[in-house]
């Protein structure tokens, strides 16, 4: 056992300082897709996307729904002038509509980003998370588990996983919600005490992703339960999940004050 302790100490600190300091993803990381040129699109662009994330209005205005985007890069390969991968990880949003790039509207994300570091410092209470897999591809689970490894160490921000939904503040849902998982998911949500929040983790949870069109899923968590924070990504990186959880704590503190 002494040897283990020595091994642990020798490792030193590897933990990210996010959200106090920005995290630097590696060059070429596929964090999300940017829409470089939203004007003058032809309707053929829509066919590039297997999940229907790209839509073109009649005036040629292109919009990209990140809540549907599975980061496959088929649009980037076909039209690199218009679409490009960006390494950014602060992709989560409070409203489903703010995941749509290229569409004029409120960008809640920008103002929230500024207050994130502040909020995590003043976070005094501990937030307990219950994860429910409602039909994911298994990738989200790996990334959620990674949050407890020393690189991300979500406990330092006051986040803990809990086994019982009765102790949970946040329900972290992955997957498009398959038919057999609908009832267990609803039951977990009902047993959670108020105040509570739902985070939809991953594109499948946000919109159904590729599984939306099969008719065997509900096509996203928000068709079953009211979602508070959407974390798109296929799967979202651990930092993106951490960002989403920090957004969700805003929901909790506001409701507790009311």
């Amino acid at each position: 056992m002494i040897e283990w302790i020595a091994r642990g100490l020798r490792t030193g600190i590897v933990t990210t300082r996010y959200p106090k300091r920005p995290e630097h993803p590696p060059a070429g990381f596929r964090g999300h897709v940017d829409l470089l040129q939203p004007e003058h699109g032809s309707s053929e662009l829509e066919a590039l996307c297997p999940t229907g994330a790209i839509s073109v209005a009649t005036d040629g205005r292109v919009s990209l729904d990140r809540g549907r985007c599975i980061l496959c890069g088929l649009c980037v390969a076909a039209d690199p002038e218009r679409f490009a991968f960006a390494p950014g990880y602060e992709t989560a949003a409070r409203q489903r509509a703010s995941l749509v790039a290229g569409e004029p509207g409120p960008h809640v994300l920008d103002e929230l980003r500024a207050t994130l570091g502040e909020r995590s410092r003043t976070l005094r209470r501990s937030i307990h998370i219950r994860h429910v897999d409602a039909g994911s591809d298994g990738g989200e689970e790996w990334e959620i588990q990674a949050l407890t490894n020393p690189y991300y160490d979500m406990q330092r921000l006051g986040f803990f996983f809990t086994l019982s939904p009765r102790h949970a503040d946040i329900l972290l849902v992955t997957g498009a919600v398959t038919e057999p998982m609908r009832a267990p998911l609803l039951r977990a949500w009902e047993t959670m005490p108020e105040p509570k929040a739902i985070v939809a983790a991953g594109t499948d949870a946000c919109s159904g992703g590729l599984a939306a069109a099969t008719g065997t899923t509900a096509g996203g968590v928000d068709s079953v339960l009211p979602v508070d924070v959407y974390v798109p990504g296929s799967p979202p990186s651990p930092i993106a999940l951490l960002h989403g959880l920090l957004l969700a704590t805003g929901v909790l503190t506001r409701e507790a004050a009311a």
């Binding site: 056992m1 040897e3 091994r7 070429g28 298994g138 690189y151 997957g175 590729l210 899923t217």
Partner: protein, 497 residues
């Protein structure tokens, strides 16, 4: 000597043709296709499994006509026994011959309304109801623990129905398909580039293996060989995926034993591999790399950088591995837990580390070599223990072997031309493709019509191994459960599809 040896090896075609009036059909190398009447399918499967063959896949196909197809892995080849259905909805059950058919036949019955006549236990498999629990053990003071679908911890959804008298596990039923997304159906009508995205997302943690098996099936169906450079890079991505999966098992086992520093150390090692994969291709899961006909994009890292990272990784791993396997409070929980015997694993046609921990040298990379594995040498890691410890030891051997394979794959890389991809023609065809996923052999059956997918069927290693998980509880108690489960390293997403 060699002539004598040749006579000993039974040729499947010779074996079946006179007895069963099977018709030999043309096929790409590595697979043999036989057509036979539906009523003879069980006898044919029996002839092959009786001589050491293993039922690898069972599903209905549509090319050239609606048929029931049973694929038997037999002496280094995949023997496809295709029985035209001709409107029939019933067939003699294969479960009477091999228990490997029990679960697939239940699935076929629910999904395609194909009834296996004489199946001993035809309960519904799809759309499970978490509140309706089947019981088989009867007796006073026995009760049922429904464990799942939402389970303690961050795990994928599956339900285990545990029958117990309080401590001993008397019976266990595995209930997958809570996560069934009908993704085989999702392939239909897609072009090749879009279809690969679906394959990668059937099981994210084995996405590279899925994409490889799928693309190889396409390439075999359309008779295109990907470039040597692409084949070598596919091997590198596949082996990194294997390392990450095996480390994930080590993390989970250390967590079960409450070995805090062990969890942290192996978590660090796994994260290092995931980050290396992200630096190499932009995705922590190797997505968007493999494409039909080769590779989608050139790697983002120099060979030298990858090798340096792996050298450093190996140095760290050696110390942590020595510490972990030398910690008695950890190994005590694994030794003798969830023991499987070789005969059971062979009967259920188990694959992957589960089979290799019982001394079965089953590994698609070397049994039916594909891509660059034809040229890259490797050793199948086997041990004879059959328990959770044996499965962990196999995994550690395989990590070392994977590093060795990656280094070999890099050796000749600069001698090959720069071409990464050959375009596939928009033609028609049908073929099998396979790859050794971290959980075991993964098999795809793909039918293409004019450059679009018309039928895709998957035989998943997780689904093949899950019945063995239920078989592995011999004298184990409830507290062993999570150790045994994690030592299997399976994924519900891959099984449910």
């Amino acid at each position: 000597m060699s002539a004598q040896r040749l006579r000993l090896v039974a040729d499947p075609v010779e074996l079946l043709q006179p007895q069963l009036a099977a018709v030999v059909e043309g096929s790409p190398p590595g697979e043999r296709r036989l057509r036979l009447p539906l009523g003879r399918l069980d006898a044919a499967v029996e002839a092959l499994t009786g001589r050491g063959g293993q039922l690898a896949a069972l599903f209905p196909v549509n090319t050239p006509e609606p048929s029931l197809l049973a694929a038997v892995s037999f002496q280094g080849e995949l023997v496809a026994l295709r029985a035209p259905l001709d409107g029939a909805r019933e067939y003699p059950s294969l479960s009477r011959i091999t228990p490997a058919a029990l679960l697939p036949e239940r699935e076929l019955h629910d999904r395609y309304q194909l009834t296996p006549l004489g199946h001993p236990d035809l309960l519904p498999a799809l759309s499970p109801d978490p509140d309706r629990l089947e019981r088989r053990v009867v007796g006073e003071q026995t009760f049922v623990i429904p464990y799942g679908p939402i389970r303690s911890g961050v795990f994928e959804s599956i339900q285990y129905v545990i029958e117990t008298g309080g401590e001993d596990i008397l019976g266990l039923h595995v209930r997958p398909f809570f996560k069934h997304r009908a993704l085989e159906q999702r392939f239909v009508g897609l072009d090749f580039d879009q279809a690969v995205q679906v394959a990668e997302r059937i099981a994210a943690i084995a996405g590279v293996a899925h994409a490889t098996a799928f693309c190889q099936a396409l390439e075999r169906a359309l008779e295109v060989e990907p470039t040597r450079r692409a084949q070598r890079w596919r091997v590198v991505h596949a082996e990194l995926e294997r390392i990450a999966n095996h480390l994930d098992v080590a993390v989970k086992l250390a967590e079960d034993a409450a070995l805090a520093v062990g969890v942290a150390r192996f978590g660090i090692l796994k994260e290092q591999i995931q980050r290396l994969r992200a630096r190499l291709c932009g995705s922590r899961f190797g997505r968007g790399v493999i494409a039909a006909g080769g590779l989608a994009e050139a790697p983002l890292l120099e060979l030298k950088t990858v090798l340096q990272a792996l050298d450093e990784f190996e140095r760290q791993l050696r110390r942590d591995r020595r510490l972990l396997l030398g910690t008695a409070s950890f190994t005590d929980r694994l030794i003798g837990s969830g023991t499987l015997d070789r005969a059971t694993v062979e009967a259920y046609a188990g694959v992957g580390p589960v089979a290799r921990a019982c001394g079965i040298a089953a590994d698609a990379r070397f049994e039916r070599p594909y891509g660059a594995y034809i040229r890259v040498g490797g050793r199948i890691a086997t041990v004879d223990d059959g328990d959770a410890m044996g499965r962990l030891r196999v995994r550690f051997h395989e990590i070392a072997e994977s590093l060795h394979i990656i280094r070999q794959a890099f050796e000749r890389l600069d001698k090959y031309g720069p071409e990464l991809r050959d375009e596939l023609p928009a033609a028609s065809g049908a073929a099998f493709g396979w790859a050794e996923a971290p959980m075991g052999e993964l098999i795809y059956w793909v039918e293409v019509a004019d450059g679009r997918l018309s039928t895709v069927r998957i035989s998943s290693p997780s689904l093949r191994n899950w019945p063995l998980f239920a078989e592995s509880f011999r004298g184990d108690v409830l507290t062993d459960f999570s150790f045994i489960e994690h030592s299997f390293g399976l994924t519900p997403a891959g099984a449910d599809r």
